[in-house]
Amino acid sequence: MKLDNTTKVMGKIFLQFMLTFLLIYLAITFFNTIVPLFFIGFSEFDFNEFKISATLYLAVLVYSMLVGFAAKSTSVYYDMFTIFSITRKRIMRTINITNVILTISGSAILNLMLLMHDIPQRGLFLIMITLSIYLILNFLNFIAFLGKLFGWYYIVGTFVLLASFILLTVNYIGGFIQMGLYKAEIITFFAIAAGAFLFINNFILSKRYEYKH
């Protein structure tokens, strides 16, 4: 696939963004797993413990990185491209391509790290993680658009609603996933929700947003 200039620029920005997060990840992992060994002795090094910590930090960092980038892509980067008179269709195409690449790479990193652990139903995890990342990215694009269009208090309001929803349902959904129940329904929900946000972002919000500054 031949990438246009806008997608190439977006790719370059993401690489810089990722590099920053990678450095943070390495620093956190080093300080939390290696530095204590200087005090308690290197003989105490437990590879399994290191593996768990490194995987956990990576998972948190990958999600944070994706969250940060998705929020910035429809706020800061969208404005930046608009200033250079790039059409909204092209900007949205770039953001959509980036979201797909981020989803695949984010999911690949997390699932590869999970290979170090003994997890039942890997296939299910792979699909769930992939869809959840894609949903999160599109949801954050949506949130950033909302904030830009109507004011940042809409972001707070939406997050409060989301937090309430998660608090109400996390035990059930988490339990269902653990027990392997309602797999098809949960996957369908993730897919439909991601599709809905994708549609709203591309065909409603991006067509209303202007750069008035």
């Binding site: 404005d79 200033i83 059409t87 202007e210 750069y211």
Partner: protein, 300 residues
């Protein structure tokens, strides 16, 4: 004859309930320089931002090469809007150095001329290692000018490209603009208040007021339509059937009339014989008369 590069059809734009642009239609040929003239709040910046696709019109369409610009996602960015600021996004970014900004522009504009950009940076003595939000207002205008010139975008829009600039930098800009336009012709729109400084560059002029077009005409055609007549009041008034008076300034028995109308060779010859001095009205005066509500200045 050059083909039409940019066409605006019935563009209307609202800021909430305020109508900033009202059914604006005009077209601009390829490789033409248009002067966009109007008073503060007349809609110049809004119009340029609509053309640059930063604002979305409520009605009408912007056609480039006879195609709807926004509908085609494969459009490479053919437009560059050079302003005195790049807006909040860059003003608030603490980390964006000017050279990073130029690198970004170089990646996004396919015709970006890096050598020429470096030449302009040296001519304007711009420190590209400074952060964009820390440079002066004049320097921000310079950044816009360099982007506009070096982008070599097919349609380049300059919105008051002198804000905060010292006279030397202004002269550098005019000289570079003329030189670059001669070597790399393209379609240019320059919005300006400093009409006298730029008047000589315009091939076409668009005068707008309160979001509406008052005049859309080649600059040569204006010379044959608007005149400044100076002489004795009674003598000028005796030719009143040949023109429409836009403005009159009377000092005693002497008068200066700004008029609209097509004067024939014969009429002009007779007027000159009657000691009436005929000259062209400057664009600045024309703007003043057309947007001043027809007020006359009479000192008796």
């Amino acid at each position: 004859m050059n083909p039409i590069k940019l066409k605006l059809k019935d563009i209307t734009y609202y800021y909430d309930n305020f109508r900033a642009l009202s059914n604006m239609s005009f077209d601009l040929k390829e490789h033409q320089i248009m002067g966009l003239i109007g008073r503060n709040g007349s809609g110049k910046t809004t119009l340029l931002k609509v053309i640059a696709h930063q604002l979305l019109q409520d009605k009408g369409e912007v056609l480039i090469d006879n195609k709807n610009y926004s509908a085609n996602e494969n459009n490479q960015n053919k437009i560059c809007l050079a302003r005195e600021t790049l807006g909040k996004t860059f003003e608030q970014t603490e980390v964006m150095k000017v050279k990073v900004l130029f690198d970004l522009a170089a990646s996004l504009y396919k015709n970006w001329d890096k050598t020429y950009a470096n030449h302009l940076i040296k001519r304007f003595k711009l420190n590209v290692n400074k952060k964009y939000n820390k440079i002066s207002k004049g320097m921000k205008t310079t950044v816009g000018i360099i982007m506009g010139l070096a982008s070599r975008a097919e349609i380049t829009l300059f919105d008051e490209p002198y804000v905060g600039l010292d006279p030397v930098s202004r002269e550098i800009f005019y000289a570079e603009l003329q030189k670059d336009y001669t070597e790399n012709p393209r379609t240019l729109i320059i919005s300006s208040h400093l009409i006298n400084e730029l008047e000589g560059m315009f091939e076409r002029v668009l005068i707008i007021d309160e979001g509406e077009i008052i005049i859309d005409s080649p600059i040569d055609a204006l010379k044959d339509k608007y005149y400044l007549l100076q002489g004795r009041k009674d003598t000028i008034e005796s030719y009143g059937t040949h023109f429409k008076i836009m403005n009159r300034e009377i000092i005693g028995s002497l008068a200066s009339y700004s008029v609209e109308g097509s004067l024939s060779e014969e009429t002009m010859r007779r007027m000159k014989a009657d000691d009436i001095d005929i000259s062209m009205i400057s664009l600045q005066k024309l703007l003043y008369h057309l947007t001043n509500g027809g007020e006359n200045n009479e000192i008796r």
